[in-house]
Symmetry: C2
């Protein structure tokens, strides 16, 4: 069933797969990506999708994937809000001020968020889009000054929206760090805990899992730092210069996820 | 007329005076401050007010001062927008995207600001209050990515508003620096150029001028770095611990501006 690849070390038992840039870009599937997912399902090779997208809920991501022709259940999608909720569960603290989109807020069911108080355990910052205002940033700031800890769903600097480069969560996280002197805990990629959530869900050891991504640092560096091997695709945000400049060497570089069979 | 003070070095020929915390706090004049200003005017001892406030225009600051019983003309008030306009004049570049309050925007007459383009020379960030939105931050970001330089009117972290601590310009400047990799030029205190504007306007050398302020770093450190002597007041944001922790020793520490005669 699963073909062992002893040339590259341990047997490959499953995959973690980035979404944007690996399965699709903007609103189009990467050629061959749907067939690859179908192949993994048919061959019963386990995989989970790990995305740093924090604008959409898992349900919305699953809906988008279905519209693009991918049969991937919501339960296979791991995004930073899930990691944040897990983080809070482990700490036994559940009061938070969320600086995230309304859609991403749907992944925080069970978290106490709406009493408007500054007396919370965490301030959680994602790529919140128009939820960023002076008032929301100031409320986050006051929560932090009154003792809350800062959780960053991700701290990317920017991303390519349809109308141009757009700020992601990172700059606003930096603003709150500057204002308060606190340091954010990042729960999305490249944190080991985030990869660990998906690995445990598959029941596989890191050494038997390959991460497929288009970001040399967040995807490949993060995964290899967590004990997996990484396969960098030449789609999405892939840039030859970024690969040369990075202090990371991917186990594989492949043209696209359609070449996944070259790894197995 | 001007009493020379040879005990402390050079003759004192004039003063730079901080506003918030020195002449007033919140909406009340510091006891004795009005009389001190009246004394300086009567004795013909020149002074200029140097404020890092970037929410209000010079005209609005003058109006507030008048309401509090201070007879100080607008032309004696130096705030960071004036320094920013001077900075742009010297560079011969006048297209800017302003992330400032509407009131502060009044001090940017002659600066080309309203065509909505990202093709500008400067992004200018003050304590913009509700002008901070995702859209305005993203527009600032895009201007910077397309070649604009970043000017910070000030980069304080926060200030004490009536309803609690509130974010100042610094954190949003840091957000834009993080997003773009650019470094802001600060034109307000403690920049030497800012103090220099007020000194030149008085026609005095730095060594003959004393800066009176409540911030050990921005006011006293900045002024002493620019060649003046500093007198720290025990009003406003003065805190004994901050003085002990600071790498700056004020030439004088006085109870309030009412004690200015002890310096002369």
């Amino acid at each position: 069933m699963v073909k062992g690849n002893t040339m590259s070390g341990s047997t490959i038992g499953g995959f973690l797969i980035d979404l944007d840039g690996v399965l699709y870009t903007a609103d189009a599937a990467i050629p061959g990506a749907q067939e690859t997912i179908r192949f993994l399902v048919e061959e019963k090779i386990p995989f989970r999708c790990v995305s740093n997208s924090t604008r959409k809920s898992r349900a919305s991501i699953a809906t988008k994937l279905a519209a693009l022709g991918f049969e991937i259940p919501e339960s296979s999608i791991f995004s930073p809000p899930l990691a944040a909720v897990r983080y809070m569960d482990e700490a036994g603290k559940h009061r938070a001020f969320l600086l995230v989109t309304d859609d991403a807020g749907r992944d925080f069911a069970g978290i106490c968020t709406d009493d408007g108080s500054t007396n919370v355990d965490y301030v959680i910052v994602g790529d919140a889009g128009d939820k960023v205002t002076y008032a929301s940033m100031n409320h986050a700031f006051r929560c932090l000054m009154e003792g809350a800890d800062l959780i960053a769903l991700e701290r990317d600097r920017y991303w390519m929206d349809k109308d141009g480069l757009s700020l992601s969560a990172g700059p606003f996280v930096a603003a709150l760090e500057t204002a308060t002197g606190k340091t954010a805990t990042v729960v999305g990629k490249p944190s080991k805990e985030f990869f660990g959530l998906a690995l445990r869900n598959m029941g596989l050891f890191a050494e038997n899992v390959v991460m497929i991504g288009d970001d040399i640092l967040t995807d490949i560096g993060g995964a290899q730092g967590a004990g997996m091997r990484g396969a960098l695709v030449r789609t999405g945000k892939f840039r030859e210069e970024a690969v040369r400049a990075a202090p990371v060497i991917p186990a594989w570089i492949i043209n696209s996820i359609a070449d996944i069979r070259n790894i197995l």
